[in-house]
Amino acid sequence: MSAIPTNASVPIGLRGFVSDWSSDRNTFHVAWGKAMMWIFLLSDTFIFGSFLTGYMTVRASTTVPWPNPSQVFSLHVGGTDVPLLLIAIMTFVLISSSGTMAMAVNCAYRRDPRNAARLMFVSAAFGIMFVSMQAFEWSKLILDEGVRPWGNPMGAAQFGSTFFMITGFHGLHVTVGVIYLIVVAVRLLLGRYERKGNYQIVEIAGLYWHFVDLVWVFIFALFYLW
């Protein structure tokens, strides 16, 4: 008395297993590439979320004072120390790259691959600027301030390990994103998506790029400002 109707055309066993998992059905009424990118970003959210939670745990449980990020990341400009100056500039650079990327998606859907590619190159250039400033920040911290993953002269040893882990993983995402944007932009110029008549890939690449900006919002607030 099974409630499931038996259907002779549905295969069983291993063949049925494969056909069930590969049957082309959409759960979400969006392009599959977009749904998959969102699911990837969801998994990435858990990675960064776990990193930031780990950072919270070690910071809240150490009895040694935490180094003051406002002072550690200050820049000496015009005779005074401006707190967090470089980090603020990096934040504005990344937001700007998100802005140009959003406009690139708009151009792509208006079937304007030239301007879409141009704006994507601008976004990638902002991304390169961001990574370069991060490289500068890392070398300043390692060479001048003596911060190491296992200790630093300013306070709690966990500062270095969480800082290098979290910003390093984010910087890796930015670097991968720059390569991704350049690849898609070059293909735009070569007319690859015009031939297919589908510019969805620009929006999908944009999702990834905005996510990198999104993660930085949390790192900026929770690591640098807290």
Binding site: F28, L42, F46, T53, T57, T62, G99, F220, Y224, W226
Partner: protein, 105 residues
């Protein structure tokens, strides 16, 4: 707005406004540090600006505001589990801190 083929088409001016808004919000969260706000005021301002910026990026730049409800909930609900993790680890960290105060000083 969102068309039948699933493409997202919104005016450029909308993106420019959000861009400007994100600039203002970032400048304001930077001012929290620059003006040396402390205590509860500092933490609440940091968190409010953070959530506003994250919300704008996800809703407008990532087009979540115009996506189908099924996708929105599939993506936005699971990260709430992280709040449970944060709660668990916060109490764990408090416990570790107290035992360190007792035995490792």
């Amino acid at each position: 707005m969102s068309t039948a083929s699933g493409t997202q088409q919104h005016p450029i001016s909308l993106y420019l406004k959000i861009w400007a808004l994100l600039f203002v919000l970032s400048a304001m969260s930077y001012m929290v540090d620059y003006l040396h706000f402390q205590g509860l005021l500092r933490w609440s301002l940091i968190l409010v600006f953070m959530m506003l910026k994250a919300g704008l990026i996800v809703a407008v730049f990532m087009h979540m505001a115009w996506e189908r409800m099924a996708l929105v909930y599939a993506i936005l609900v699971p990260p709430l589990a992280l709040l449970v993790l944060v709660g668990l680890m916060a109490s764990e960290a408090g416990h570790t801190f107290l035992t360190r105060l007792l035995y490792f000083r």
